[in-house]
Protein backbone atom coordinates (compact mmCIF):
# COMPACT_ATOMS: atom_id res chain seq x y z
CA UNK A 1 0.00 0.00 0.00
CA UNK A 2 2.53 2.48 1.09
CA UNK A 3 4.70 1.71 -1.85
CA UNK A 4 1.96 2.55 -4.32
CA UNK A 5 1.33 5.74 -2.45
CA UNK A 6 4.94 6.71 -2.67
CA UNK A 7 4.85 5.82 -6.33
CA UNK A 8 1.80 7.99 -6.87
CA UNK A 9 3.23 10.99 -5.14
CA UNK A 10 6.37 10.63 -7.19
CA UNK A 11 4.41 10.48 -10.37
CA UNK A 12 2.40 13.46 -9.29
CA UNK A 13 5.46 15.50 -8.54
CA UNK A 14 7.23 14.64 -11.80
CA UNK A 15 4.88 16.45 -14.21
CA UNK A 16 5.02 19.53 -12.01
CA UNK A 17 8.78 19.33 -12.08
CA UNK A 18 8.80 18.99 -15.84
CA UNK A 19 6.37 21.82 -16.24
CA UNK A 20 8.57 24.09 -14.21
CA UNK A 21 11.60 23.09 -16.24
CA UNK A 22 9.73 23.48 -19.51
CA UNK A 23 8.67 26.94 -18.48
CA UNK A 24 12.20 27.89 -17.52
CA UNK A 25 13.89 26.66 -20.70
CA UNK A 26 11.62 28.55 -23.14
CA UNK A 27 12.63 31.86 -21.53
CA UNK A 28 16.27 31.15 -22.27
CA UNK A 29 15.42 29.70 -25.65
CA UNK A 30 13.28 32.66 -26.66
CA UNK A 31 16.04 35.03 -25.63
CA UNK A 32 18.57 33.00 -27.61
CA UNK A 33 16.36 32.91 -30.70
CA UNK A 34 15.74 36.65 -30.37
CA UNK A 35 19.47 37.24 -30.24
CA UNK A 36 20.05 35.02 -33.26
CA UNK A 37 17.28 36.75 -35.20
CA UNK A 38 18.80 40.16 -34.38
CA UNK A 39 22.23 38.91 -35.39
CA UNK A 40 20.86 37.69 -38.71
CA UNK A 41 19.00 40.94 -39.33
CA UNK A 42 22.13 43.01 -38.71
CA UNK A 43 24.03 40.66 -41.01
CA UNK A 44 21.54 40.60 -43.85
CA UNK A 45 19.85 43.99 -43.73
CA UNK A 46 22.70 45.85 -45.52
CA UNK A 47 22.37 43.40 -48.40
CA UNK A 48 18.69 44.19 -48.70
CA UNK A 49 19.44 47.88 -48.46
CA UNK A 50 21.93 47.65 -51.34
CA UNK A 51 19.24 46.05 -53.50
CA UNK A 52 16.54 48.47 -52.41
CA UNK A 53 18.69 51.52 -53.12
CA UNK A 54 20.06 50.15 -56.37
CA UNK A 55 16.52 49.82 -57.71
CA UNK A 56 15.55 53.39 -56.78
CA UNK A 57 15.50 56.65 -58.68
CA UNK A 58 18.29 58.74 -57.17
CA UNK A 59 16.29 61.99 -57.28
CA UNK A 60 13.21 60.75 -55.50
CA UNK A 61 15.35 58.67 -53.10
CA UNK A 62 16.13 61.90 -51.25
CA UNK A 63 12.50 62.50 -50.44
CA UNK A 64 11.88 59.03 -49.04
CA UNK A 65 15.04 58.00 -47.24
CA UNK A 66 13.27 55.52 -44.97
CA UNK A 67 11.00 53.82 -47.49
CA UNK A 68 11.51 50.08 -47.20
CA UNK A 69 10.73 49.45 -50.83
CA UNK A 70 12.60 50.86 -53.82
CA UNK A 71 11.62 54.49 -54.47
CA UNK A 72 10.25 54.90 -58.03
CA UNK A 73 11.34 51.43 -59.04
CA UNK A 74 13.86 51.51 -61.90
CA UNK A 75 16.77 49.49 -63.22
CA UNK A 76 18.37 52.74 -64.39
CA UNK A 77 21.23 52.61 -61.85
CA UNK A 78 22.36 49.26 -63.24
CA UNK A 79 22.20 50.53 -66.82
CA UNK A 80 24.18 53.58 -65.83
CA UNK A 81 27.02 51.72 -64.10
CA UNK A 82 27.24 49.10 -66.81
CA UNK A 83 27.59 51.82 -69.44
CA UNK A 84 24.23 51.02 -71.06
CA UNK A 85 22.59 54.41 -70.43
CA UNK A 86 23.39 57.64 -72.21
CA UNK A 87 24.70 60.62 -70.23
CA UNK A 88 21.40 62.49 -70.41
CA UNK A 89 19.47 59.41 -69.30
CA UNK A 90 21.86 58.93 -66.40
CA UNK A 91 21.59 62.55 -65.28
CA UNK A 92 17.80 62.45 -65.58
CA UNK A 93 17.73 59.68 -62.99
CA UNK A 94 20.08 61.45 -60.61
CA UNK A 95 23.34 59.96 -61.80
CA UNK A 96 26.48 62.08 -61.64
CA UNK A 97 27.05 61.89 -65.36
CA UNK A 98 30.56 60.60 -64.67
CA UNK A 99 31.32 57.96 -67.21
CA UNK A 100 31.72 54.56 -65.64
CA UNK A 101 31.93 51.21 -67.28
CA UNK A 102 31.78 48.42 -64.77
CA UNK A 103 31.27 45.88 -67.53
CA UNK A 104 34.94 46.31 -68.44
CA UNK A 105 36.02 46.05 -64.80
CA UNK A 106 33.86 42.98 -64.40
CA UNK A 107 35.80 41.41 -67.25
CA UNK A 108 39.08 42.48 -65.64
CA UNK A 109 38.08 40.99 -62.30
CA UNK A 110 37.15 37.70 -63.95
CA UNK A 111 40.50 37.55 -65.76
CA UNK A 112 42.49 38.53 -62.67
CA UNK A 113 40.78 36.20 -60.23
CA UNK A 114 40.61 33.25 -62.62
CA UNK A 115 44.22 33.51 -63.77
CA UNK A 116 45.48 33.90 -60.23
CA UNK A 117 43.41 30.99 -58.93
CA UNK A 118 44.32 28.57 -61.71
CA UNK A 119 48.03 29.37 -61.52
CA UNK A 120 48.53 29.43 -57.79
CA UNK A 121 46.44 26.35 -57.11
CA UNK A 122 48.28 24.43 -59.83
CA UNK A 123 51.74 25.51 -58.63
CA UNK A 124 50.77 24.72 -55.04
CA UNK A 125 49.50 21.31 -56.09
CA UNK A 126 52.83 20.45 -57.71
CA UNK A 127 54.82 21.63 -54.71
CA UNK A 128 52.50 19.97 -52.22
CA UNK A 129 52.89 16.66 -54.05
CA UNK A 130 56.66 16.94 -53.90
CA UNK A 131 56.50 17.69 -50.19
CA UNK A 132 53.95 15.02 -49.32
CA UNK A 133 54.55 12.06 -51.61
CA UNK A 134 58.13 12.18 -52.84
CA UNK A 135 61.29 11.32 -50.93
CA UNK A 136 64.20 13.67 -51.32
CA UNK A 137 66.90 15.16 -49.22
CA UNK A 138 66.20 18.63 -47.82
CA UNK A 139 62.48 18.25 -48.18
CA UNK A 140 61.58 19.19 -44.64
CA UNK A 141 64.09 22.03 -44.52
CA UNK A 142 62.67 23.66 -47.66
CA UNK A 143 59.14 23.11 -46.45
CA UNK A 144 59.93 24.88 -43.17
CA UNK A 145 61.49 27.78 -45.06
CA UNK A 146 58.36 28.05 -47.20
CA UNK A 147 56.19 28.07 -44.10
CA UNK A 148 58.26 30.91 -42.76
CA UNK A 149 56.70 33.07 -45.49
CA UNK A 150 53.47 32.97 -43.51
CA UNK A 151 55.17 35.15 -40.95
CA UNK A 152 55.61 38.01 -43.39
CA UNK A 153 52.60 40.31 -43.28
CA UNK A 154 51.24 41.54 -46.59
CA UNK A 155 52.07 45.14 -45.84
CA UNK A 156 55.79 44.27 -45.75
CA UNK A 157 55.97 42.85 -49.27
CA UNK A 158 53.39 45.08 -50.97
CA UNK A 159 55.60 48.12 -51.49
CA UNK A 160 58.79 46.26 -52.55
CA UNK A 161 56.69 44.13 -54.90
CA UNK A 162 55.25 47.27 -56.39
CA UNK A 163 58.78 48.58 -56.93
CA UNK A 164 59.76 45.28 -58.55
CA UNK A 165 56.75 45.21 -60.90
CA UNK A 166 57.40 48.86 -61.69
CA UNK A 167 61.05 48.09 -62.52
CA UNK A 168 59.93 45.26 -64.79
CA UNK A 169 57.63 47.69 -66.60
CA UNK A 170 54.59 45.57 -65.76
CA UNK A 171 52.39 48.14 -64.03
CA UNK A 172 48.93 48.29 -65.56
CA UNK A 173 49.20 44.82 -67.04
CA UNK A 174 47.47 41.62 -66.02
CA UNK A 175 50.87 39.97 -65.75
CA UNK A 176 51.95 42.51 -63.15
CA UNK A 177 48.67 42.14 -61.31
CA UNK A 178 48.78 38.36 -61.14
CA UNK A 179 52.49 37.50 -60.99
CA UNK A 180 53.35 38.12 -57.31
CA UNK A 181 50.61 35.80 -56.12
CA UNK A 182 50.57 33.31 -58.98
CA UNK A 183 53.48 31.04 -58.18
CA UNK A 184 53.70 30.66 -54.46
CA UNK A 185 51.30 30.47 -51.58
CA UNK A 186 52.63 29.01 -48.37
CA UNK A 187 49.16 28.45 -47.08
CA UNK A 188 47.94 26.60 -50.18
CA UNK A 189 50.96 24.31 -50.16
CA UNK A 190 50.51 23.59 -46.48
CA UNK A 191 46.79 22.95 -46.92
CA UNK A 192 47.23 20.47 -49.80
CA UNK A 193 50.29 18.75 -48.36
CA UNK A 194 48.45 18.16 -45.12
CA UNK A 195 45.70 16.43 -47.05
CA UNK A 196 48.02 14.35 -49.25
CA UNK A 197 49.98 13.08 -46.24
CA UNK A 198 46.92 11.12 -45.26
CA UNK A 199 46.86 8.95 -48.40
CA UNK A 200 47.87 5.35 -47.99
CA UNK A 201 50.90 4.11 -49.91
CA UNK A 202 49.14 0.98 -51.11
CA UNK A 203 47.32 2.65 -53.99
CA UNK A 204 50.50 4.29 -55.19
CA UNK A 205 52.44 1.05 -54.89
CA UNK A 206 49.79 -0.75 -56.92
CA UNK A 207 49.97 1.90 -59.64
CA UNK A 208 53.77 1.73 -59.62
CA UNK A 209 53.60 -2.03 -60.15
CA UNK A 210 51.22 -1.37 -63.05
CA UNK A 211 53.99 0.70 -64.59
CA UNK A 212 52.86 4.24 -63.85
CA UNK A 213 55.60 6.83 -63.41
CA UNK A 214 55.73 9.30 -60.54
CA UNK A 215 54.21 12.00 -62.72
CA UNK A 216 51.43 9.64 -63.76
CA UNK A 217 50.78 8.97 -60.08
CA UNK A 218 50.33 12.69 -59.50
CA UNK A 219 47.76 13.29 -62.20
CA UNK A 220 45.97 9.95 -62.27
CA UNK A 221 45.86 9.11 -58.59
CA UNK A 222 46.63 12.09 -56.40
CA UNK A 223 44.70 14.80 -58.24
CA UNK A 224 41.40 12.88 -58.35
CA UNK A 225 41.80 11.99 -54.68
CA UNK A 226 42.47 15.64 -53.83
CA UNK A 227 39.54 16.98 -55.88
CA UNK A 228 37.58 18.12 -52.81
CA UNK A 229 40.32 20.18 -51.15
CA UNK A 230 41.37 21.53 -54.55
CA UNK A 231 37.86 22.86 -55.11
CA UNK A 232 37.70 24.41 -51.65
CA UNK A 233 41.08 26.00 -52.08
CA UNK A 234 40.20 27.35 -55.53
CA UNK A 235 37.01 28.87 -54.19
CA UNK A 236 38.75 30.58 -51.30
CA UNK A 237 41.55 31.84 -53.54
CA UNK A 238 39.06 33.14 -56.07
CA UNK A 239 37.01 34.97 -53.44
CA UNK A 240 40.15 36.52 -51.97
CA UNK A 241 41.44 37.66 -55.36
CA UNK A 242 38.03 39.02 -56.34
CA UNK A 243 37.82 41.10 -53.17
CA UNK A 244 41.42 42.25 -53.11
CA UNK A 245 41.85 46.01 -53.12
CA UNK A 246 45.26 47.17 -51.86
CA UNK A 247 47.45 45.43 -54.44
CA UNK A 248 45.31 46.20 -57.54
CA UNK A 249 45.00 49.80 -56.34
CA UNK A 250 48.77 50.18 -56.56
CA UNK A 251 49.39 48.25 -59.72
CA UNK A 252 46.30 48.64 -61.91
CA UNK A 253 44.88 52.13 -62.24
CA UNK A 254 44.29 51.83 -65.99
CA UNK A 255 40.59 51.22 -66.83
CA UNK A 256 41.56 48.36 -69.14
CA UNK A 257 43.14 46.41 -66.29
CA UNK A 258 41.67 47.62 -63.02
CA UNK A 259 39.33 45.17 -61.30
CA UNK A 260 35.93 45.97 -59.82
CA UNK A 261 37.11 46.91 -56.34
CA UNK A 262 39.39 49.63 -57.70
CA UNK A 263 36.76 50.83 -60.18
CA UNK A 264 34.25 51.07 -57.33
CA UNK A 265 36.61 53.28 -55.36
CA UNK A 266 37.16 55.52 -58.37
CA UNK A 267 33.42 55.73 -59.05
CA UNK A 268 32.76 56.69 -55.44
CA UNK A 269 35.34 59.46 -55.52
CA UNK A 270 33.94 60.77 -58.82
CA UNK A 271 30.51 61.04 -57.22
CA UNK A 272 29.71 64.66 -56.31
CA UNK A 273 29.96 65.46 -52.59
CA UNK A 274 26.81 67.55 -52.55
CA UNK A 275 24.51 64.94 -53.95
CA UNK A 276 26.14 61.54 -54.33
CA UNK A 277 24.64 59.02 -56.70
CA UNK A 278 23.74 56.54 -53.98
CA UNK A 279 21.54 54.47 -56.27
CA UNK A 280 24.37 54.14 -58.78
CA UNK A 281 26.90 53.34 -56.05
CA UNK A 282 24.72 50.60 -54.63
CA UNK A 283 24.08 49.18 -58.09
CA UNK A 284 27.84 49.12 -58.62
CA UNK A 285 28.37 47.48 -55.23
CA UNK A 286 25.86 44.82 -56.15
CA UNK A 287 27.55 44.18 -59.49
CA UNK A 288 30.79 43.62 -57.57
CA UNK A 289 29.23 41.40 -54.92
CA UNK A 290 26.84 39.44 -57.12
CA UNK A 291 29.28 36.87 -58.56
CA UNK A 292 30.40 36.01 -55.03
CA UNK A 293 26.81 35.58 -53.94
CA UNK A 294 26.17 33.25 -56.91
CA UNK A 295 29.29 31.24 -56.10
CA UNK A 296 28.06 31.01 -52.56
CA UNK A 297 24.65 29.77 -53.65
CA UNK A 298 26.31 26.99 -55.62
CA UNK A 299 29.14 26.08 -53.24
CA UNK A 300 27.78 27.42 -49.95
CA UNK A 301 27.85 24.12 -48.11
CA UNK A 302 31.43 23.48 -49.18
CA UNK A 303 32.57 26.93 -48.09
CA UNK A 304 30.79 26.73 -44.75
CA UNK A 305 32.19 23.27 -44.08
CA UNK A 306 35.70 24.22 -45.10
CA UNK A 307 35.64 26.75 -42.30
CA UNK A 308 33.90 24.43 -39.92
CA UNK A 309 35.91 21.30 -40.75
CA UNK A 310 37.33 20.93 -37.29
CA UNK A 311 33.93 19.98 -36.03
CA UNK A 312 33.71 16.86 -38.12
CA UNK A 313 37.21 15.79 -37.22
Amino acid sequence: MTTTLVGETRQASRPADQRRRRRRIPVGKTLAWTYLALFLIVTIFPFYWILRTALSNNYTLIRHPSSFLPVNFTVGPFERVLGLASRTQAIAEGGSGASINLALSLRNSVIYATALTVLVVFCSLLAAYAFARLQWRGRNVIFSIFLGALMIPGIMTLLPNFVLIHDLGLTNTFAGLVLPGALFSAFNIFFLRQFMLGFSNDIEDAALIDGAGSLGLLFRITVPMTAGPLTTLSLLTFINAWNDYFWPLMIASDPGVRPLTVALGVFQQASPETQPDFAGLMAAALVAAFPMLVLFMIFGRRIVNSIGFTGIR
Binding site: L126, A130, L164, F191, T261, M292, G300, I312, R313
Partner: protein
Amino acid sequence: MGIRACLNVYDVTSGKNLDAKTVSGASIVVIASGRTATQLRRTSARRSPSHRGDWRLAVILILPATAGFCVFAAYPTIRGIYLSFTNFRILSPPTWAGLANYRRLFADDVFWHSLRVTVYFVALTVGVGLAVSLVSAVILHRLTQSTVIRGLVLLPFLISGVVAALVWQWMLDPGLGIINVVVKAVIGHNILFLGSQGWVIPSLSFIAIWKSMGYNAILIFAGLQTIPSEIYEAGRLDGAGEIRMFTRLTLPLLRPIMAMVIILTIISSFQVFDLVAVTTKGGPANASNVLPLYIYDTGFAEFNFGYALTMSMALFVLLLAITFFQMRLLRANDSDTT
Protein backbone atom coordinates in the same frame (compact mmCIF):
# COMPACT_ATOMS: atom_id res chain seq x y z
CA MET B 1 47.47 14.53 -30.86
CA GLY B 2 50.01 16.05 -33.20
CA ILE B 3 47.90 15.19 -36.22
CA ARG B 4 44.77 16.59 -34.72
CA ALA B 5 46.51 19.83 -33.94
CA CYS B 6 47.53 20.06 -37.57
CA LEU B 7 44.07 19.46 -38.88
CA ASN B 8 42.60 22.03 -36.57
CA VAL B 9 45.05 24.52 -37.92
CA TYR B 10 44.58 23.89 -41.58
CA ASP B 11 40.84 23.97 -41.43
CA VAL B 12 40.51 26.89 -39.21
CA THR B 13 42.95 29.09 -40.99
CA SER B 14 41.59 28.14 -44.36
CA GLY B 15 39.72 31.28 -45.13
CA LYS B 16 41.95 33.99 -44.02
CA ASN B 17 45.60 33.70 -44.73
CA LEU B 18 45.48 32.64 -48.34
CA ASP B 19 47.14 35.85 -49.30
CA ALA B 20 49.72 35.41 -46.57
CA LYS B 21 48.76 38.72 -45.05
CA THR B 22 48.06 37.03 -41.78
CA VAL B 23 50.95 35.84 -39.76
CA SER B 24 48.94 33.95 -37.26
CA GLY B 25 48.48 30.73 -39.16
CA ALA B 26 52.21 30.49 -39.18
CA SER B 27 52.68 30.33 -35.48
CA ILE B 28 50.48 27.30 -35.19
CA VAL B 29 51.63 25.83 -38.44
CA VAL B 30 55.19 25.78 -37.21
CA ILE B 31 54.26 24.02 -34.02
CA ALA B 32 52.19 21.49 -35.89
CA SER B 33 54.81 20.69 -38.49
CA GLY B 34 57.40 20.20 -35.80
CA ARG B 35 55.25 17.52 -34.29
CA THR B 36 54.62 15.58 -37.45
CA ALA B 37 58.27 15.62 -38.47
CA THR B 38 59.02 12.43 -36.56
CA GLN B 39 56.19 10.62 -38.24
CA LEU B 40 57.44 11.70 -41.64
CA ARG B 41 60.90 10.35 -40.97
CA ARG B 42 59.47 7.04 -39.99
CA THR B 43 57.58 6.64 -43.28
CA SER B 44 60.49 7.82 -45.37
CA ALA B 45 62.76 5.10 -44.02
CA ARG B 46 60.27 2.44 -44.95
CA ARG B 47 59.49 3.69 -48.43
CA SER B 48 62.87 4.66 -49.80
CA PRO B 49 63.47 1.76 -52.31
CA SER B 50 60.65 2.72 -54.71
CA HIS B 51 61.51 6.42 -54.45
CA ARG B 52 65.09 6.48 -55.65
CA GLY B 53 64.60 8.87 -58.59
CA ASP B 54 62.20 11.13 -56.76
CA TRP B 55 64.52 14.04 -56.21
CA ARG B 56 64.70 14.86 -59.92
CA LEU B 57 60.93 15.10 -60.22
CA ALA B 58 60.73 16.95 -56.91
CA VAL B 59 63.07 19.64 -58.16
CA ILE B 60 60.88 20.19 -61.22
CA LEU B 61 57.68 20.22 -59.19
CA ILE B 62 58.82 22.72 -56.58
CA LEU B 63 60.48 24.95 -59.17
CA PRO B 64 57.52 27.33 -59.77
CA ALA B 65 56.76 27.68 -56.08
CA THR B 66 60.43 28.18 -55.22
CA ALA B 67 60.75 30.85 -57.88
CA GLY B 68 57.65 32.57 -56.52
CA PHE B 69 58.95 32.31 -52.98
CA CYS B 70 62.36 33.74 -53.83
CA VAL B 71 61.21 36.54 -56.14
CA PHE B 72 57.96 37.67 -54.52
CA ALA B 73 58.33 36.79 -50.84
CA ALA B 74 61.97 36.53 -49.73
CA TYR B 75 63.51 39.10 -52.07
CA PRO B 76 60.93 41.85 -51.42
CA THR B 77 61.27 41.35 -47.68
CA ILE B 78 65.04 41.69 -47.77
CA ARG B 79 64.84 44.52 -50.28
CA GLY B 80 62.23 46.23 -48.13
CA ILE B 81 64.54 46.09 -45.13
CA TYR B 82 67.38 47.52 -47.23
CA LEU B 83 65.24 50.25 -48.78
CA SER B 84 64.03 51.35 -45.36
CA PHE B 85 67.59 52.59 -44.77
CA THR B 86 67.65 54.61 -47.98
CA ASN B 87 66.24 57.72 -49.48
CA PHE B 88 64.14 56.28 -52.28
CA ARG B 89 61.62 58.06 -54.48
CA ILE B 90 61.04 55.29 -57.04
CA LEU B 91 61.98 57.32 -60.12
CA SER B 92 65.64 57.67 -59.15
CA PRO B 93 67.83 54.94 -57.65
CA PRO B 94 67.91 54.72 -53.85
CA THR B 95 70.67 56.50 -51.95
CA TRP B 96 71.90 55.25 -48.57
CA ALA B 97 70.47 57.33 -45.76
CA GLY B 98 71.59 55.34 -42.75
CA LEU B 99 69.26 55.75 -39.81
CA ALA B 100 67.68 58.98 -41.07
CA ASN B 101 64.32 57.35 -41.78
CA TYR B 102 64.28 55.70 -38.37
CA ARG B 103 65.16 58.97 -36.70
CA ARG B 104 62.31 60.63 -38.55
CA LEU B 105 60.02 57.80 -37.43
CA PHE B 106 60.67 58.49 -33.76
CA ALA B 107 60.14 62.22 -34.23
CA ASP B 108 57.11 61.89 -36.52
CA ASP B 109 53.99 62.93 -34.59
CA VAL B 110 51.74 61.78 -37.41
CA PHE B 111 53.22 58.29 -37.16
CA TRP B 112 52.65 58.03 -33.42
CA HIS B 113 49.18 59.47 -33.76
CA SER B 114 48.52 56.99 -36.54
CA LEU B 115 49.78 54.12 -34.40
CA ARG B 116 47.52 55.20 -31.52
CA VAL B 117 44.53 55.38 -33.86
CA THR B 118 45.33 51.94 -35.24
CA VAL B 119 45.72 50.41 -31.78
CA TYR B 120 42.40 51.96 -30.72
CA PHE B 121 40.75 50.49 -33.81
CA VAL B 122 42.31 47.07 -33.24
CA ALA B 123 41.36 47.03 -29.56
CA LEU B 124 37.74 47.87 -30.31
CA THR B 125 37.46 45.47 -33.22
CA VAL B 126 39.07 42.58 -31.38
CA GLY B 127 37.41 43.17 -28.02
CA VAL B 128 33.86 43.83 -29.10
CA GLY B 129 34.03 41.69 -32.23
CA LEU B 130 35.19 38.59 -30.43
CA ALA B 131 32.66 38.96 -27.64
CA VAL B 132 29.89 39.15 -30.25
CA SER B 133 31.31 36.23 -32.22
CA LEU B 134 31.71 34.07 -29.13
CA VAL B 135 28.18 34.67 -27.89
CA SER B 136 26.79 34.12 -31.38
CA ALA B 137 28.73 30.91 -31.86
CA VAL B 138 27.57 29.48 -28.55
CA ILE B 139 23.95 30.38 -29.25
CA LEU B 140 24.16 29.09 -32.80
CA HIS B 141 25.67 25.85 -31.54
CA ARG B 142 22.92 25.39 -28.98
CA LEU B 143 19.98 26.23 -31.21
CA THR B 144 20.59 24.88 -34.66
CA GLN B 145 22.84 22.82 -36.89
CA SER B 146 21.35 24.42 -39.99
CA THR B 147 23.89 24.96 -42.75
CA VAL B 148 21.59 27.59 -44.27
CA ILE B 149 21.76 29.79 -41.19
CA ARG B 150 25.50 29.34 -40.94
CA GLY B 151 25.71 30.28 -44.61
CA LEU B 152 23.71 33.46 -44.05
CA VAL B 153 25.93 34.37 -41.12
CA LEU B 154 28.91 34.04 -43.43
CA LEU B 155 27.62 36.41 -46.13
CA PRO B 156 29.62 39.54 -45.15
CA PHE B 157 32.83 37.49 -45.31
CA LEU B 158 32.25 36.95 -49.04
CA ILE B 159 32.08 40.55 -50.12
CA SER B 160 34.95 42.92 -50.59
CA GLY B 161 35.87 45.44 -47.91
CA VAL B 162 35.18 48.09 -50.54
CA VAL B 163 31.57 46.96 -50.93
CA ALA B 164 31.11 46.76 -47.16
CA ALA B 165 32.56 50.26 -46.82
CA LEU B 166 30.25 51.66 -49.51
CA VAL B 167 27.05 50.22 -48.12
CA TRP B 168 27.79 51.28 -44.56
CA GLN B 169 28.84 54.72 -45.68
CA TRP B 170 25.45 55.00 -47.36
CA MET B 171 23.53 53.65 -44.37
CA LEU B 172 25.45 55.92 -41.98
CA ASP B 173 25.08 58.99 -44.21
CA PRO B 174 24.25 62.00 -41.98
CA GLY B 175 21.37 63.19 -44.16
CA LEU B 176 19.78 60.25 -45.92
CA GLY B 177 21.26 57.13 -44.36
CA ILE B 178 18.67 54.83 -42.86
CA ILE B 179 20.54 54.61 -39.56
CA ASN B 180 20.63 58.36 -39.16
CA VAL B 181 16.93 58.57 -40.06
CA VAL B 182 16.27 56.23 -37.15
CA VAL B 183 18.75 57.98 -34.84
CA LYS B 184 17.13 61.33 -35.61
CA ALA B 185 13.68 59.95 -34.85
CA VAL B 186 14.90 58.65 -31.49
CA ILE B 187 17.28 61.30 -30.14
CA GLY B 188 16.24 64.30 -32.21
CA HIS B 189 19.47 64.97 -34.11
CA ASN B 190 21.73 63.05 -36.42
CA ILE B 191 25.20 61.73 -35.67
CA LEU B 192 28.20 62.25 -37.95
CA PHE B 193 29.31 58.63 -37.66
CA LEU B 194 32.11 58.90 -40.18
CA GLY B 195 32.51 62.66 -40.05
CA SER B 196 33.31 63.44 -36.42
CA GLN B 197 36.55 62.77 -34.60
CA GLY B 198 34.91 60.97 -31.71
CA TRP B 199 32.71 58.65 -33.75
CA VAL B 200 34.85 57.79 -36.73
CA ILE B 201 36.97 55.00 -35.23
CA PRO B 202 34.10 53.29 -33.39
CA SER B 203 32.07 53.46 -36.62
CA LEU B 204 34.86 52.00 -38.74
CA SER B 205 35.43 49.37 -36.11
CA PHE B 206 31.73 48.53 -36.22
CA ILE B 207 31.92 48.01 -39.99
CA ALA B 208 34.98 45.79 -39.56
CA ILE B 209 33.14 43.78 -36.90
CA TRP B 210 30.09 43.45 -39.12
CA LYS B 211 32.28 42.07 -41.87
CA SER B 212 34.16 39.55 -39.73
CA MET B 213 31.77 38.53 -36.94
CA GLY B 214 30.04 35.80 -38.92
CA TYR B 215 33.28 34.26 -40.07
CA ASN B 216 34.71 34.30 -36.58
CA ALA B 217 31.49 32.88 -35.17
CA ILE B 218 31.72 29.97 -37.62
CA LEU B 219 35.34 29.36 -36.60
CA ILE B 220 34.38 29.27 -32.95
CA PHE B 221 31.34 27.16 -33.83
CA ALA B 222 33.73 24.64 -35.37
CA GLY B 223 35.69 24.65 -32.13
CA LEU B 224 32.53 24.05 -30.14
CA GLN B 225 31.72 21.02 -32.26
CA THR B 226 34.98 19.39 -31.19
CA ILE B 227 33.92 19.40 -27.56
CA PRO B 228 32.41 15.99 -26.84
CA SER B 229 28.88 16.15 -25.48
CA GLU B 230 29.80 13.65 -22.71
CA ILE B 231 31.68 16.43 -20.99
CA TYR B 232 28.46 18.42 -20.69
CA GLU B 233 26.54 15.36 -19.54
CA ALA B 234 29.12 14.83 -16.84
CA GLY B 235 28.85 18.48 -15.92
CA ARG B 236 25.07 18.23 -15.73
CA LEU B 237 25.32 15.15 -13.49
CA ASP B 238 27.55 17.12 -11.19
CA GLY B 239 24.78 19.68 -11.00
CA ALA B 240 26.44 22.49 -12.91
CA GLY B 241 24.17 25.19 -14.33
CA GLU B 242 24.31 26.70 -17.80
CA ILE B 243 26.49 29.65 -16.88
CA ARG B 244 28.80 27.56 -14.76
CA MET B 245 29.24 25.03 -17.57
CA PHE B 246 29.98 27.86 -19.98
CA THR B 247 32.67 29.41 -17.81
CA ARG B 248 34.12 26.16 -16.43
CA LEU B 249 33.86 23.85 -19.46
CA THR B 250 33.22 25.68 -22.71
CA LEU B 251 35.59 28.60 -22.28
CA PRO B 252 38.66 26.62 -21.15
CA LEU B 253 38.14 24.05 -23.90
CA LEU B 254 37.77 26.80 -26.47
CA ARG B 255 40.92 28.62 -25.42
CA PRO B 256 43.20 27.35 -28.20
CA ILE B 257 40.72 28.23 -30.91
CA MET B 258 39.90 31.56 -29.28
CA ALA B 259 43.60 32.35 -29.14
CA MET B 260 43.85 31.66 -32.83
CA VAL B 261 40.80 33.73 -33.72
CA ILE B 262 42.14 36.56 -31.58
CA ILE B 263 45.48 36.64 -33.34
CA LEU B 264 43.89 36.35 -36.78
CA THR B 265 41.68 39.32 -35.98
CA ILE B 266 44.49 41.36 -34.42
CA ILE B 267 46.76 40.91 -37.39
CA SER B 268 44.15 41.56 -40.06
CA SER B 269 42.85 44.58 -38.10
CA PHE B 270 46.33 46.11 -37.92
CA GLN B 271 46.43 45.96 -41.70
CA VAL B 272 43.02 47.54 -42.26
CA PHE B 273 43.08 49.56 -45.44
CA ASP B 274 40.13 49.27 -47.81
CA LEU B 275 37.49 50.23 -45.22
CA VAL B 276 39.28 53.45 -44.32
CA ALA B 277 40.55 54.30 -47.79
CA VAL B 278 37.02 54.16 -49.19
CA THR B 279 35.04 55.82 -46.39
CA THR B 280 37.11 58.54 -44.73
CA LYS B 281 40.58 58.58 -46.38
CA GLY B 282 41.97 59.16 -42.90
CA GLY B 283 39.75 62.09 -41.97
CA PRO B 284 38.35 64.06 -40.32
CA ALA B 285 41.67 65.72 -39.48
CA ASN B 286 43.70 62.50 -39.30
CA ALA B 287 41.25 61.01 -36.81
CA SER B 288 41.09 57.78 -38.80
CA ASN B 289 44.52 57.90 -40.40
CA VAL B 290 45.42 54.28 -39.66
CA LEU B 291 48.96 53.08 -40.22
CA PRO B 292 48.50 51.22 -43.53
CA LEU B 293 46.77 54.29 -44.96
CA TYR B 294 49.58 56.56 -43.78
CA ILE B 295 52.12 54.17 -45.28
CA TYR B 296 50.22 54.16 -48.58
CA ASP B 297 49.99 57.94 -48.67
CA THR B 298 53.67 58.34 -47.85
CA GLY B 299 54.51 56.01 -50.71
CA PHE B 300 52.02 57.03 -53.35
CA ALA B 301 51.20 60.65 -52.55
CA GLU B 302 54.61 61.83 -51.26
CA PHE B 303 56.56 59.21 -53.26
CA ASN B 304 58.74 58.73 -50.21
CA PHE B 305 59.13 54.97 -50.52
CA GLY B 306 62.08 54.79 -48.17
CA TYR B 307 60.14 56.22 -45.27
CA ALA B 308 56.99 54.26 -46.17
CA LEU B 309 59.06 51.08 -45.93
CA THR B 310 60.53 52.18 -42.60
CA MET B 311 56.99 52.38 -41.26
CA SER B 312 56.13 48.98 -42.77
CA MET B 313 59.14 47.62 -40.91
CA ALA B 314 57.85 49.07 -37.66
CA LEU B 315 54.47 47.43 -38.26
CA PHE B 316 56.19 44.17 -39.22
CA VAL B 317 58.19 44.10 -36.00
CA LEU B 318 55.08 44.91 -34.00
CA LEU B 319 53.12 42.08 -35.63
CA LEU B 320 55.99 39.64 -35.14
CA ALA B 321 56.15 40.54 -31.46
CA ILE B 322 52.42 39.96 -31.12
CA THR B 323 52.68 36.63 -32.90
CA PHE B 324 55.48 35.36 -30.70
CA PHE B 325 53.68 36.49 -27.60
CA GLN B 326 50.58 34.69 -28.81
CA MET B 327 52.56 31.56 -29.65
CA ARG B 328 53.61 31.37 -26.03
CA LEU B 329 50.00 31.61 -24.97
CA LEU B 330 48.98 28.93 -27.44
CA ARG B 331 51.63 26.54 -26.23
CA ALA B 332 50.59 27.12 -22.67
CA ASN B 333 47.04 26.35 -23.64
CA ASP B 334 47.79 23.08 -25.35
CA SER B 335 47.55 21.12 -22.14
CA ASP B 336 43.98 22.26 -21.62
CA THR B 337 42.59 20.56 -24.69
CA THR B 338 43.80 17.03 -24.25
